[in-house]
């Protein structure tokens, strides 16, 4: 009986391999269409697919807006976005990349969990001929950076000067009177986390602020509440909290509630790196004081545009990756926060597909180059987006 079953299994498997024959004539992924050097008007690039592992189950408006902006970038050149759920850890991302390659994507955009996972991703993508780019992260390890930057399939990506941002926001808090600061940051080992730590340390040294404690890796609201309550109990002298980074959804409301429960809202200055959709109300009642962010929409959008340009055969920079540093925007008022909410976290990306196609896809405009992108970054502000989209977005 066992032999009969084994034979049936073998024959069925052999027959079923024929099922895909007709479908697989052209699924060698990653071979980008390569038009001749300049765009031909009236034509479009070949269809392509971009894979994006992301926390798609999150309903946090910031997380959703990231998908909106990546999608706009992909669709601007006629591509299809392939989303896969990820918990954004190194293990999960490596598996996601592998699955996406099997699904025949031509490019992958992702946020790396660590530098050390990048060589594995590079090997997989290079073997499959799939381009990839990164968002939100630089590569701190010199050896890995050299290896990845010399890879044919690494298109580049955006990152921010996290150290400078953390330095600036800490100095701002100091100028607002903070002398005893507690910090919440993303898990250690994450490049941004380490850089933000450095920035905070530098500012603390210059300003004389006392850094009381830093907690890392909070991802759920219950843990955030416990952390703030621990800070309140352990450090009665605390007069400032800096959210240097967190994947906890609704982090700011959670912290504000914890402070409010202890009658400390407004007495303890709160600052945050990465904008939050609830900022406006807390700016209004003066319980929230400064936010640096805005990169969470422009970074993934431009990182994906860089990737799309490579995939469709019109890379912004030939023969090497294009690394772009995007700026953090500063918000200190309710009106700015309201504009952010309206124009950054709605259904409209910060650049629409038409705007991207016209100004950032080299296939359609051969004048686009590195300087174009840098000008885009320099002119990017909340007011800029509000002005461009005032007729598109209903307040």
């Amino acid at each position: 009986m066992k032999k009969v079953l084994s034979l049936i299994l073998a024959i069925t498997l052999a027959v079923s391999t024929l099922a895909g024959c007709s479908n697989n004539a052209g699924t060698a992924s990653g071979t980008s269409s390569a038009p001749t050097s300049s765009a031909v008007s009236g034509q479009n690039p070949k269809k392509f697919k971009i894979g994006f592992p992301w926390a798609t189950s999150s309903t946090d408006p910031t997380f959703v807006s990231i998908v909106t902006n990546v999608k706009a970038a992909v669709e601007s050149a006629g591509g299809e976005l392939v989303l896969v759920e990820s918990d954004l850890t190194a293990d999960s991302l490596v598996n996601n990349v592998s699955d996406l390659i099997s699904r025949g994507v031509d490019g992958i955009i992702f946020m790396p969990a660590s530098d050390s996972m990048l060589p594995t991703v590079d090997r997989m993508c290079s073997d499959a001929g799939v381009y990839y780019s990164t968002m939100f992260r630089t590569i701190s390890d010199t050896t890995i950076r050299n290896q990845i930057y010399s890879s044919k399939y690494f298109a580049g990506g955006c990152n921010e000067d996290d150290e400078k941002c953390a330095y600036n926001i800490t100095k701002t808090l100091s100028s607002q009177g903070v002398k005893n600061l507690c910090v919440i940051n993303i898990a250690k080992g994450d490049t941004s986390s380490d850089l933000r730590d450095s920035g905070v340390a530098k500012a603390v040294k210059e300003t004389g602020i006392k850094l009381l404690n830093t907690t890392y890796g909070i991802t759920v609201q219950t843990d955030m509440t416990k952390t703030i309550e621990s800070y309140i109990a352990a450090y009665p002298e605390m007069d400032g909290i800096l959210i240097a980074g967190t994947y906890c959804p609704a982090a700011l409301p959670t912290i504000e509630k914890a402070l409010s429960d202890h009658n400390l809202a407004g007495k303890i200055k709160v600052g945050r790196i990465d904008f939050d959709f609830t900022m406006g109300q807390y700016f209004a009642n003066k319980s929230f004081n400064v936010a640096y962010g805005g990169q969470q929409q422009i970074d993934p959008l431009l990182s994906t545009v860089i990737l799309v340009n490579s995939v469709i055969g019109t890379p912004i920079v030939k023969d090497k990756p294009f690394i772009l540093v995007t700026n953090y925007l500063e918000l200190t008022s309710k009106s700015e926060a309201d504009n952010f909410l309206t124009y950054f976290l709605g259904d409209t990306p910060v650049y629409t597909s038409d705007e991207i196609k016209k100004n950032l896809i080299k296939f359609y405009n051969s004048n686009i180059n590195e300087d174009t992108f840098k000008k885009t970054v320099d002119s990017f502000t909340v007011a800029d987006v509000a002005a461009r989209h005032k007729d598109l977005v209903k307040k």
Binding site: L5, G20, S57, D91, N95, S102, R103, S114, S116
Partner: protein
């Protein structure tokens, strides 16, 4: 007479399904997903994806076979893999040659603790290993507080040829140990009836402890290979791995009650089927949450079909 014939054939069919559940399950899963993915499932590139998924689950499942033949469970396998990866990554900062031994020794140590707790202290394996998983996860999170990397040169161990060699070597060794050695037979005899085994001269506590040690050792290896795949150990390494392993062995036809019906092939066939199913669902674009629902439903269905109520003395 006809009724007797039909009745006898019905009984044979039921027994056949139960006995060859693993083969039938693998066949169904493979064929279904091959068609649903329009032939992408068995493409060479994707077969390596399936192998990479199957490799870790298979290692864990091979270790768990010994435990489950005793009628025990180990819900700490994922946590052990995570801690093994964490300690190995720190050891790698001292000397790269320490990474593998530290990973293995960590697995062995936790396995031994589990074994002593369950065999000597008579803690119920479900509760004991669940508690151990909380402890070990907590230690891992405290140690790492994020993630730690190892040099990318260690990726040499992530090559398919290395993994295939390691897997086949362990498969042969553990298969021989389980199916043909005295120890393997002792495991099943204890699973069938611990009292009868004890009266036959089997050192039941030693057999149980050893089974947990073997499971721990395999988890240490899983931790090592997870570490060299990403060159990163994080507090989430091995997350939910215990459920993947449990689902794999059950899908392979492992009886929950242990004893003589346990076959080593359950670990292998079940792991392959699980990997094919997970990969197939990913290729179809089914999101992670829906996959969890599917896996949960399948787990319930398997237990309903494969659980042999007649031989169950105690509901664990």
């Amino acid at each position: 007479m006809v009724a007797q014939f039909i009745g006898k054939n019905k009984l044979n069919m039921k027994e056949t399904v139960r006995n060859y559940f693993s083969f039938i399950g693998l066949l169904i899963v493979t064929v279904v997903f091959e068609f649903l993915t329009e032939g992408n499932l068995l493409q060479p590139r994707n077969l390596m994806n399936i192998f990479n998924n199957f490799f870790s689950i298979g290692l864990g499942a091979m270790g768990v076979v010994f435990l489950m033949s005793l009628g025990e469970l180990d819900l700490s396998v994922g946590a052990i893999a995570g801690l093994s990866a964490a300690l190995a990554s720190y050891a790698g900062q001292i000397n790269l040659a320490l990474i593998l031994p530290v990973a293995i020794l960590t697995g062995l140590a936790i396995g031994l603790l589990n074994g002593v707790m369950i065999a000597r202290l008579r803690v119920e394996s479900f509760i004991g290993t669940l508690a151990m998983s909380f402890v070990v996860r907590g230690i891992t999170t405290w140690l790492l507080n994020g993630s730690v990397g190892i040099p990318v040169s260690m990726r040499v161990f992530d090559q398919n040829s290395v993994k295939i060699f390691v897997f086949v070597a362990l498969l042969v060794a553990l298969f021989l140990l389980f199916e043909f050695s005295a120890y393997g037979k002792q495991c099943r005899s204890v699973g069938a009836s611990a009292d009868a085994a004890r009266q036959s001269g089997v050192k039941v506590e030693k057999v149980r402890t050893m089974a947990f040690v073997i499971s721990g050792l395999m988890c240490g290896l899983v931790g090592f290979f997870s570490l060299v795949r990403t060159c990163t150990a994080s507090s989430k390494t091995g997350n939910a791995f215990e459920f993947d392993v449990l689902l794999a062995v059950l899908f392979g036809g492992m009886p929950l009650t242990g004893g003589w019906p346990v076959k080593f092939r359950a670990a292998i066939l079940g792991s392959i089927a699980m990997s094919v199913m997970k990969n197939g669902m990913s290729l179809m674009g089914i999101d992670g949450l829906t996959q969890q629902i599917v896996e949960g439903v399948i787990l319930i269905a398997i237990v309903v079909i494969a659980f042999d109520r007649k031989s169950a003395n105690v509901i664990k």
